[in-house]
Subunit: 206 residues, 2 copies
């Protein structure tokens, strides 16, 4: 489908959708045809949701997560442990950690990881603001919960060095075999780490 559609309006809508990551021209066409079949009100809702989000969304002044208010509901919650900060890449990761129900602290959203290949340097991320939060005092532990990739590791190390001068406990989420995984099919790096980082067995189930 190299040719342009006989409607400039349609062509423009397909072009806009094609700009989204992972959406090719064929998928874009399918989505635009779907939108075209919806009532005008629904299309306006769709378009309005995007512009309103872009114009009105705020970043929490503490954790830099997406929020409708100056301070996000998690940072504003007095029942959360404000002395433990979990460092994540993005807002999806906050949701993933929240869904485990295992973390009662607060977050810090970096906005990505250091990746010279993608042109993402430390100054593009919320690292300085993390250091500033630690410098302010009151934070006892920083849990690094970044992707177990080269970029994630680089970022972990960068943060480790930046925080070396401060009296704060730094930990990284455990890497090991996934629950339900079979040892036979676990890659050797993961299995090796899970042996090196073995934990005391207390007789209780996890």
């Amino acid at each position: 489908m190299s040719q342009e559609y006989p409607s400039a309006l349609f062509e423009r809508a397909v072009g806009e959708f094609s700009k989204l990551p992972g959406i090719g021209r064929k998928t874009a066409t399918r989505l635009v045809l779907h939108i075209l079949r919806q009532p005008t009100g629904d299309v306006e809702n769709f378009a309005g949701a995007m512009t309103q989000l872009k114009k009105e969304v705020k970043y929490c002044k503490h954790c830099y997560g997406i929020s409708d208010t100056e301070v996000c509901p998690i940072c504003a919650n007095p029942l959360r442990d404000h002395s433990t900060v979990c460092v994540v890449e993005n807002i999806q990761d906050i949701m993933a950690v929240e869904n485990t129900m295992q973390f009662k602290g607060v977050y810090h959203v970096l906005g990505g990881v250091i990746s010279p290949m993608d042109g993402i340097s430390p100054s593009d991320l919320q690292i300085e603001s993390l250091v500033a939060r630690v410098a302010e005092g009151g934070i006892k532990e920083i849990i690094l919960a970044l992707s177990p990739t080269m970029e994630g590791d680089t970022t972990n190390f960068y943060i480790f060095r930046k925080l070396a001068a401060y009296d704060v406990k730094l930990s990284v989420i455990a890497r090991g075999i996934s629950v339900g995984d079979e040892l036979e099919y676990t890659d050797e790096v993961t299995l090796g780490r899970s042996i090196v980082n073995r934990t005391p067995f207390t007789g209780k189930s996890f």
Copy 2:
């Protein structure tokens, strides 16, 4: 990710994206985060393209294809053969046929195929308007180019009966083995049809 995001604006945008076919909640989140990273002008362009398309797009009064004008560029082209009409399901199929450079006639867009499972009956499709075009006169041949599925076949047969009273040649695009396919791996129905509908070999390459 069953939980809602801590921002209602973000949640709404993700919800709107999730309504699109084939877009789940995770993909929607990824797309909305991408949109959020774009400049405000780009987001407005994206949203504007959708609302403008919905408000201003027209359906060609002859072929019911999408068009910016009353009559689409193909129907308005005097160099096309207006006595041969290719019946297709949607606008993508027009582009697919156009890309073959093998068809110089005009089109008729049904808007789908008869599918009781999906609640699509003949009255939901541009079949009456096709019959009306034929009744007007001037059309010599109708080429049915619908999907080679049960629904496509049903629609072909429905149109065949609707047009039985008119003096118009009705044909269906050939079904057979695809160019480059291996016989060994062709399904028996297709291979059987390609034998039944064999064409005279003239010594020329296709």
